[in-house]
Every structure is written in structure tokens, then in C-alpha cells.
């Protein structure tokens, strides 16, 4: 009876997940095995592996996959490096400051992603704020390549996703008993040793969650790489949208999208295995 009732309670959520996650995935999966369409049709009659073979045989497309993964990893690392000190600071701040800093960390989320990405183009462009200022000051003759490259995209992505790294880190650090660090001190450990041997490992659940979150968001992002990368940084996500909407090749786009998802899943799986915590 109890079991039945709880089964009924999860029904709405299950229905939504089925309709908007499972079913679309099935449709995309089926679509990826269709033959390419001819004469303006998005897909053809029969089934085949053309979508996948096209992706892996053409370097232009195939190379986007490692490039995207690398971009995601670098963004994740940048976020981790930037977010950890912030989280550590907030976790040890007074109640009042904690609330204020928490608000500041979350504030970028209040601004739409398109607006934020445009903001970066204004800053980083060849005649943008940074380059214009440096040229005017006479420090450089020609504009520095700040955007339309990996650097600009990583910078903008790290900015966009920083809160998603800070929040899990913060909750992990706040869950830590302050007496644990004191215990380490009483046993003779100094500041850096405490961080290396105690604080950081104890915060690993937060590190793990934050990294997975940022990585997945970064590799699947479209707006930021499109605007800041200016189509010169080819991520698989950009190519998927290009194939589906501009080239109108649904099987090819579906195959790419699924390959990207599988690759991301593999990276996340390996990362989770490497950072497995038996003590949890």
C-alpha cells in the first residue's frame, strides 16, 4: 500500500522525464541512424550509419570533439582555481558577510547569458575596451588577440559558470566540522598542511560535484562560444546546431549530438571513478 502510494506520487515527475527527456533521446537516437535527405528533405527513407561515419571521417568535425572536451576541462580547472579561495573565504566569514558574499557570487546569474557574453565581446574585441585602452596608453601597437580564440571562450565560460562551482564547494566546506581543523593543529599540522591533508580532501564531494556541473554546462554551451568565439572556436555543440538548423541535416546533427553526449558521459564517468571517495 505504502509502496503503491509513493509510486503514484512520483508519477507526475516520471511522466515529465519520460516526455521531455527519454522520448526526445529515443527520437534523436532513431534520427541519428536515418539516411541523409535529398532535395531539401531533412532526412531520407532508410537507416544507416552515414551520420556517424561522416562525423568521424571528416577531420573538421571529428577534431571538434577533443577540442570541446579540452575546452570544458580547462574551463572547469579555471573555475575550480578561482572558486576555491572564494568558497573558503565565504565559509569562514561571519554570518552577515556570508550573506552578502553569497549574494555577490550569485549575482551574475541574474543577468541573461546572452547579455553577459555580449559584455565580454565589448571588453575583449579588437577595438574593445581593453585593447582600445592599451593602445591609447601606448603600451601596445596592435590589438591583443583576446577573443575569437580559446582564451576568450574559456574566460567568458569561467565567468558564466563560476557560481556553479562556488556553491557546491561552499556547501562542502560548511559541512566540515571546524573542530576537525583544530584537531589537525593540535596534532602539529600547520596551515598549508591542514589545507592539503584535511580541508581539501574533506571538501572533495564539493569539488567533484562542482567540476561535473561546470564541465557538462561548458561543453554543451552554445551562446558564449558562438559570440565570444565568433565561430572561429569550433565546439561540437556549434557544429550540431549548424548541421540541424543551417544545413538541415537531421541524421548528421543527431549523430553528432549523441556522440558528444556519450563522450561527455565517458569523461564524467572516468572523473567520478578517479575521485571516488570510499569514506563517504
Amino acid at each position: 500500500m505504502r509502496k503503491l502510494r509513493s509510486a503514484v506520487l512520483i508519477l507526475p515527475a516520471a511522466a515529465i522525464i519520460f516526455l521531455f527527456v527519454v522520448l526526445p533521446y529515443v527520437i534523436v537516437l532513431v534520427m541519428s541512424f536515418r539516411t541523409p535527405g535529398a532535395g531539401g528533405a531533412p532526412y531520407g527513407e532508410g537507416f544507416g550509419l552515414k551520420g556517424y561515419t561522416q562525423f568521424f571521417s571528416e577531420g573538421y568535425y571529428a577534431m571538434s570533439l577533443p577540442q570541446t572536451m579540452l575546452l570544458g576541462m580547462v574551463t572547469t580547472l579555471a573555475c575550480l582555481a578561482l572558486a576555491y579561495p572564494v568558497a573558503l573565504h565565504i565559509a569562514t566569514a561571519s554570518r552577515r558577510w556570508r550573506a552578502i558574499l553569497y549574494g555577490i557570487v550569485l549575482s551574475p546569474l541574474l543577468v541573461g547569458i546572452v547579455v553577459r557574453s555580449y559584455g565580454w565581446t565589448i571588453l575583449l574585441g579588437n577595438s574593445g575596451v581593453i585593447n582600445a585602452t592599451l593602445i591609447q596608453m601606448g603600451l601596445i601597437q596592435r590589438p591583443l588577440p583576446l577573443m575569437y580564440n580559446n582564451f576568450g571562450v574559456v574566460l567568458a565560460l569561467a565567468h558564466v559558470f563560476l557560481p556553479f562551482m562556488v556553491l557546491p564547494l561552499l556547501s562542502a566546506l560548511q559541512a566540515m566540522d571546524p573542530a576537525v581543523a583544530q584537531a589537525a593543529r593540535s596534532l602539529g599540522a600547520r596551515r598549508f598542511t591542514i589545507f592539503r591533508r584535511v580541508t581539501f580532501p574533506v571538501s572533495m564531494p564539493g569539488v567533484q560535484a562542482g567540476c561535473i556541473l561546470v564541465f557538462v554546462l561548458a561543453i554543451s554551451s552554445y551562446v558564449t562560444p558562438a559570440l565570444v568565439g565568433g565561430m572561429r572556436v569550433k565546439t561540437t555543440t556549434l557544429l550540431v546546431v549548424d548541421a540541424l538548423i543551417d544545413q538541415f541535416q537531421w541524421p548528421f546533427g543527431s549523430a553528432m549530438a549523441l556522440t558528444l553526449a556519450a563522450a561527455a558521459g565517458l569523461v564524467v564517468f572516468v572523473f567520478a571513478r578517479l575521485t571516488r571517495m570510499e569514506w563517504k
Binding site: A179, Q182, S186, A189, T193, W279
Partner: protein
């Protein structure tokens, strides 16, 4: 083995003085409890000794060496926290090894000493378990082992049994005390539980409002409390206020309401005509036949609590608490006589005033 001296220790937070200049000497291998209600300064004292709180004034010496300005990591202390504060990501063996690794003890020796310590706290079976997989009592023993394996100068325990259930708490009391005696380490134990302090310690230091009210053997704190506050904190205390009839060489004669008298042996100071305040522990008063008793009364409430019966008795000296044996049972509302053991009545310091003075 270390001797600890606390000299006029002051700790203030802004204007508020948490410790108002306390002084205390702790002997080699002595087990001292700091006992008091929350906010009395006992934990602050411990944190000052550990080095987690910077002291405002005064000194703390270990073996006559001033360590007041040293960082906690340089003080050579072993500390057990109320929350145990085990490293959750390390196994029992790794938790125990941590302090030795910090001291750069050779790997082979670490292995030996950790094994010995695990044996000492009876955790050898659980060497490879993580703290989360252990019970509260086992975690407590890991914390003890971790503090002791480094063979620190002193052992500090901050309410270590507060999170355990009653039965386990009793077991751990004996365990900690035995272990402390075996190792012979100078130990400072903070607690708000007077039973814990009395059963475990060589000496109990009772603190109120940032000052030491009394530092003495458990028996003395219980039977001969320095102040009424101490008397009431370390157990149930009946306070009798009685006029002094006569003061002689062989004792003090006190009159009880209803005509009875009490002859207090010894030379307690009390002028004839003054009032004397005496403490009587509930188990030191006997219920007797009302006829010819020292003091008459009536049972107001009666509670059975297994080992004994607790009586609330209304008397002309005010309500008194009496503990009686379960073999004797008196019903509520019944008239009773009370008999005092004059040898064990304790005159309270500062409880002496003139009869007229009190009446006015």
C-alpha cells in the same frame, strides 16, 4: 609527565571578561576536571591551554616553561573534542598516524606505535574502517587514541562524553580514567556533569562566572563546598539557617525550630545569638519517628527512583530534600521526624550573620 601552571589567566572579549584572572597548579599525572555551568569559563580555559584562544593577560606554564605565546601546533598537546573531530576521509589507522607523520616519525615506527595505540583503545579490528562506519563510542576511542599516540605533554578533553548515551557514558568514564592512570599523563577534563567530574578526577575545579570557586578533591568539594553555589552545583544541597544557642570549646549548640537542638562538633565560628547556615546532603538526613525527633515535618512529595526514594519534606526550616532507602517507605502527607548527623553538617562560609541583622 608535565606540570601545568596557570597564573592569573585573563581572557576578555572586548569588555566582557570570560576569565577573571584564574590561577591553578596541576601536578604531574594529575587528572583535573574543570566543572561548571555553561558560560562559566571552563571551555575558554581549556582553549587557552590548547592555544586556540589568545590569552589577554597572565601566563600558562608547562613544566615552568611559558607557552602562552606558542601556537597550538607547537604546544605538544593531545586534545579530544566534543564532536570527536575525526578526519572523515582517513581510516582509523590513518587518523592515528596523522600526528606522528606531522612529527616526522619514521614510517616503521609509526606503524608500530599506531598498532600499539589501536590495541590500547581496543580498535585493532577496525583499523581500516572510516569514522562514519563506527559507533559513537568507537569514534570516541579513535579520538582518544589519536590524541595519546603522539605521547603529548598533556591531554585535554572537552566534554568528550556529552554526545554519548547514558550507558556508554558510564563505560567510557571508567575506560578514560583507567587509560589515563596507565599512561600517567597530566589530564585536564572539561565537563558540566558533576557525577562525571567526581567519579573521574583526582581534583575537581568548580568554576562560576570566569573564576574558580573551589579546587579540591571530589570528596571535599561534595562534603565541604566552599560556597553555597558550589554546594548546589555538585549535588542536591539542603541549606538550614539556625540560630546559635551557645559556642563552647567542644562545639556549637544550635537550636532547631520546635525546640530540638543540634550539637555541632569542632570549632565553627559562630557567636551566640547569630545565625549559622549549614549544608546537609539529602542522604545525610534520616527519616525517623516524629515523637522526640530533632525536627518535625510532613512528606509533601515522594518519588521512587530505583536505588532510593526521594522525599520532599515540608519543615519549619523550609522544604528539605531527603533520600531514603527503598526498604523504608513513607507515604505522602504523613508526618515524619528528621534526624541529622551533626558530624556531617557543613557550616557554609559567609553564611554567618546576626539574628537581628537577618531579621531586619
Amino acid at each position: 609527565m608535565t606540570e601545568v601552571s596557570i597564573l592569573s589567566l585573563v581572557k576578555s572579549y572586548g569588555k566582557a571578561e570570560a576569565l577573571k584572572g584564574i590561577s591553578l597548579n596541576i601536578d604531574h599525572g594529575e587528572f583535573v576536571s574543570l566543572l561548571g555551568p555553561s558560560g562559566c569559563g571552563k571551555s575558554t580555559t581549556l582553549k587557552c591551554i590548547a592555544g586556540f584562544e589568545e590569552i589577554t593577560d597572565g601566563k600558562i606554564l608547562f613544566d615552568n616553561k611559558d607557552i602562552s605565546r606558542k601556537l597550538p601546533e607547537d604546544r605538544d598537546i593531545g586534545m579530544v573534542f566534543q564532536s570527536y573531530a575525526l578526519f572523515p576521509h582517513m581510516t582509523v589507522a590513518q587518523n592515528l598516524a596523522f600526528g606522528l607523520e606531522m612529527r616526522r616519525v619514521p614510517r616503521a615506527e609509526i606503524k608500530q606505535r599506531v598498532a600499539r595505540a589501536m590495541d590500547m583503545v581496543q580498535l585493532t579490528k577496525y583499523a581500516d574502517r572510516y569514522p562514519k562506519m563506527l559507533s559513537g563510542g568507537q569514534q570516541q576511542r579513535v579520538a582518544l587514541g589519536r590524541a595519546l599516540v603522539i605521547e603529548p605533554a598533556i591531554l585535554l578533553l572537552d566534554e568528550p562524553l556529552a554526545n554519548l548515551d547514558a550507558k556508554l557514558r558510564d563505560e567510557m568514564r571508567g575506560f578514560i580514567r583507567d587509560l589515563q592512570k596507565r599512561v600517567g599523563i597530566t589530564t585536564i577534563y572539561v565537563t558540566h556533569d558533576q557525577d562525571e567530574a567526581m567519579t573521574m578526577s583526582d581534583r575537581v575545579v568548580v568554576m562560576f562566572n570566569g573564576a574558580i570557586a573551589q579546587a579540591a578533591r571530589p570528596e571535599d568539594v561534595y562534603n565541604h563546598p566552599a560556597t553555597e553555589e558550589v554546594a548546589k552545583f555538585v549535588g542536591n544541597a539542603n541549606i538550614l539557617e539556625l540560630p546559635v544557642a551557645a559556642q563552647g570549646a567542644e562545639g556549637t549548640l544550635l537550636t532547631l525550630p520546635g525546640g530540638g537542638t543540634l550539637n555541632l562538633p569542632g570549632t565553627a565560628s559562630g557567636q551566640a545569638g547569630s545565625l549559622m547556615r549549614l549544608m546537609a546532603r539529602p542522604e545525610q538526613i534520616a527519616l525517623v519517628d516524629p515523637s522526640g525527633a530533632q525536627l518535625g515535618g510532613r512528606i509533601a512529595k515522594r518519588y521512587f527512583s530505583g536505588g532510593h526514594i526521594e522525599y520532599h519534606v515540608d519543615t519549619d526550616c523550609g522544604p528539605l530534600l531527603v533520600l531514603g532507602p527503598t526498604s523504608q517507605t513513607v507515604a505522602e502527607g504523613q508526618a515524619v521526624g528528621l534526624s541529622f548527623d551533626a558530624q556531617r553538617l557543613w557550616p557554609m562560609q559567609g553564611g554567618v550573620g546576626t539574628a537581628s541583622g537577618v531579621a531586619a
